[in-house]
Symmetry: C2
Subunit: 346 residues, 2 copies
C-alpha cells in the first residue's frame, strides 16, 4: 500500500466532494478528474500525453492480451479492495499465459455521488499494486452513471504482456503423468469478502490472499521448469479451474483432498456458510501442470507453501472426470457448480 | 449488420430467457453463456482456447493500446447500439494513434434479468462491426450485477494495434501553419441517442454516424500525407477535441464556423434541445492536422466529405485559445463545457 499521507489528493477532501455526472462528460470536469486523481498516481511516460491511446515501444516476442471486470461488493475488504483486485486479477491472467505483464488499461464506471475519497483510496491501491507487480497503467477511461445505478465503482482492466519463453503454456500442453502443483492454501479471498459483506466475525480474521503471480511464474520459468499449463483459481475456485482444464485437455485428473492446504479458519467459515472450500474464489493462488520429474524443482521454486495436490491420468474411456480421493479413502467426482456459490466476490 | 436470421442464437429465445446471477459466477452457466453466445459470433483462433488470456503472434512495430467503456442509454438507437459503439469507439482510438487495429478485448457487465435476445443482438452487432473494421475479439470477461444495478449492458473494450508508420502522431507534433481537416458533418450520434431516449421525432430521422475510422486513416498514411495529429470527436464533440489539443500543443487554432458541415436536421434538433452542434458527440468523425501543402491530397483521400475547417496559428502571448470566426465576421473563443451537455451518449 502507498502511504496515504505520502501522496495527498490534489482535490481537497475535507468537504467530502463527490463524483458528478459532469465528471463523465468529456469536458472540463472530466479533464480535472483525470489530471488530479489518476495522473498523479499512475504517472508514467506513456500515460502522460493523455491522447486517445498509449503509444508503446515494440515488444520482442509473442503477446498476451487479457481483460477482466471487477464488480466486487463491498468495495473494501480485509486484505484489499476493488483496486488491488483490478490490478492483480489482470496481472495474474497474463502470468497464466506465461507472460511478463507490461501494461494495463483502466476503465472506470463511477456512480454519481461516490465520495472522491473512496475513488482516491482505490486509485492509490491500484498504483501500489501496479508498482508491486511491475506494470504500468498507460491508458484509461472514465464514465459516470446515474445515482442508484452501478455500485460505487466498477473497474475493467485489460493487460498486455510479452511471452519470453518458447514453451506453449495452455490446456493443450497438459500431458498424462503431469504433476499438479498448487502454490498455497485456498479459499481466503471469497471468505474475506463474504465476511465483510455479511458483517460476520470469525475467531481469527481472514484476509484476502490477493497478490500478483507474475513473479512466481517467472521464477518457475527461469528455474527451467517445463511448465505445461497454468491457471489461477478465481471465480469458482479450484473446482472450476480443474474441471475446465480437464475438459479442455480431454484428460482425467486425480486429486488428493488432504494434499490441498485449507486454513482451519477458512474451513470453519465454510462450514458456517455452507460452502465448499474447493469452490471458493482466490486471488493469489494458481495450479501449475509440470512434468513429474520436475516436481521438487517446482516446489522449491515456489517456496514453502507449494503443494503437489494430484496428477494427470492417462486418457481413458470415461469422460475426463476430475476425481478427488477423500481422507476416508472414498472418491468423489468434481463438477462445476451450476450457478453461483458466492456472487460479486471479484 | 449480420443478418439475424443467418446466425441463430444457440440458446432458444422463444421463452425469452434472461441473464441470471449464475451467468457471472464462473461455473457451468458462465461457461454455457460464453460457448453459446460469445464464441459462435467472435469465432477466431486466438479466442478458441478460452484460456485466461489470448496468446498472439509478435507484432512488428510500436504498439498502440487503448480502452473505452460504453454506458449508453438506451442500448439501441437509430444507426447502432452499444455493441457497434463498443467496437468502433476503441477501433477509432487506435486509429487516432496512427495504428492499424488488430485485437479487441470485451468486458461485459450484465444486469440480472436482461433478455438474452438483447445480449445476442448486441453481440451480433459487435461481430459485424469487428468484421467491418478488420479486428478480432480475442479475449473477454462477463460479470453479472443484481437487478436494478447496471443498466442492461455496460461494455468495456480495450484494443491493441500496431503502428506501421514512422511518423509520431500526437498533439506534440502539431505545428503552426498546419491545416485542420474534418472528415464530414458533425453532431449526428449525440442527437440520435437523445432522440431515442426522449422519444423525440424530427422531420427527417437522424442516424448515428458510428463508423470505423482505421480505414480512412490508413488511406491518408498510404497516400503519403504527413499526418501530425488525429483526434476523434466523441464526448464533448469538436469543441473538446480542439480545446484539448490546443492546450496539449500549446498552440492557438483558428476555425471558420461555416466551414464545419452540420446537417440542417441536426442544426434544427440542436436548436430545439438547446445544444451547440460543436459540442455534440460523434462516433465516426475526426480531425487531422496536416501540413498546409498537403491539404488537397488529404481532402481527396478522405473523399467528398472532407472539409478544411481551420488552421494552427503561430504561438502568441495569449493562452492557446481556439478562436472561431462566425459567419457574421465576429470571433468567439471556444471553451470546454464545464459539465456535461449530453449524459450517457456513449
Amino acid at each position: 500500500m502507498i502511504d496515504e499521507f505520502a501522496l495527498q489528493c490534489p482535490i481537497p477532501l475535507d468537504d467530502n466532494p463527490t463524483v458528478q455526472m459532469g465528471h463523465g462528460g468529456g469536458g472540463r470536469m472530466t479533464r480535472e478528474l483525470i489530471e488530479r486523481v489518476f495522473v498523479p498516481v499512475f504517472a508514467n511516460e506513456a500515460l502522460a500525453p493523455l491522447h486517445d491511446g498509449a503509444i508503446l515501444p515494440p515488444a520482442r516476442g509473442r503477446l498476451a492480451f487479457t481483460t477482466d471486470t471487477f464488480v466486487v461488493r463491498p468495495l473494501f475488504f480485509r486484505g484489499g479492495d476493488v483496486g488491488t483486485l483490478a490490478v492483480n486479477g489482470t496481472v495474474n491472467d497474463l502470468a497464466m499465459c506465461g507472460a511478463r505483464p507490461l501494461y494495463l488499461s483502466a476503465g472506470f464506471i463511477l456512480e454519481e455521488g461516490l465520495p472522491i475519497k473512496d475513488l482516491w483510496r482505490v486509485v492509490l491501491s491500484m498504483g501500489a499494486a501496479a508498482k508491486a507487480a511491475g506494470v504500468r497503467v498507460v491508458t484509461g477511461d472514465t464514465k459516470v452513471v446515474d445515482r442508484g445505478h452501478g455500485d460505487g465503482i466498477y473497474i475493467n482492466t485489460a493487460g498486455v504482456g510479452v511471452i519470453e519463453t518458447d514453451l506453449t503454456i495452455g490446456p493443450g500442453s497438459i500431458r498424462p503423468g503431469d504433476a499438479i502443483v498448487l502454490n498455497g492454501d485456498i479459499g481466503r479471498h471469497g471468505i474475506a469478502v463474504m465476511a465483510e459483506r455479511e458483517g460476520l466475525q470469525f475467531e481469527s480474521e481472514i484476509s484476502s490472499d490477493c497478490a500478483p503471480l507474475a513473479g512466481p511464474v517467472q521464477d518457475l520459468l527461469r528455474a527451467g521448469v517445463e511448465v505445461h499449463c497454468l491457471r489461477d483459481l478465481t471465480r469458482g475456485g479450484l473446482t472450476s479451474a480443474l474441471v475446465e482444464l480437464g475438459e479442455s485437455a480431454a484428460l482425467p485428473f486425480r486429486i488428493r483432498e488432504d494434499a490441498v492446504p485449507v486454513r482451519d479458519e477458512v474451513r470453519g467459515a465454510c462450514e458456517i456458510l455452507g460452502l465448499e472450500p474447493f469452490s471458493v474464489a482466490n486471488e493469489g493462488r494458481f495450479v501449475a501442470f509440470v512434468p513429474s520429474g520436475q516436481v521438487e524443482l517446482a516446489r522449491a521454486t515456489l517456496g514453502g507453501e507449494g503443494a503437489v495436490i494430484g496428477s494427470v491420468e492417462p486418457r481413458g474411456t470415461d469422460p475426463p472426470f476430475v476425481r478427488v480421493e477423500t481422507p476416508l479413502g472414498t472418491t468423489r467426482i468434481l463438477d462445476l457448480p451450476s450457478g453461483e456459490q458466492l456472487p460479486r466476490i471479484c
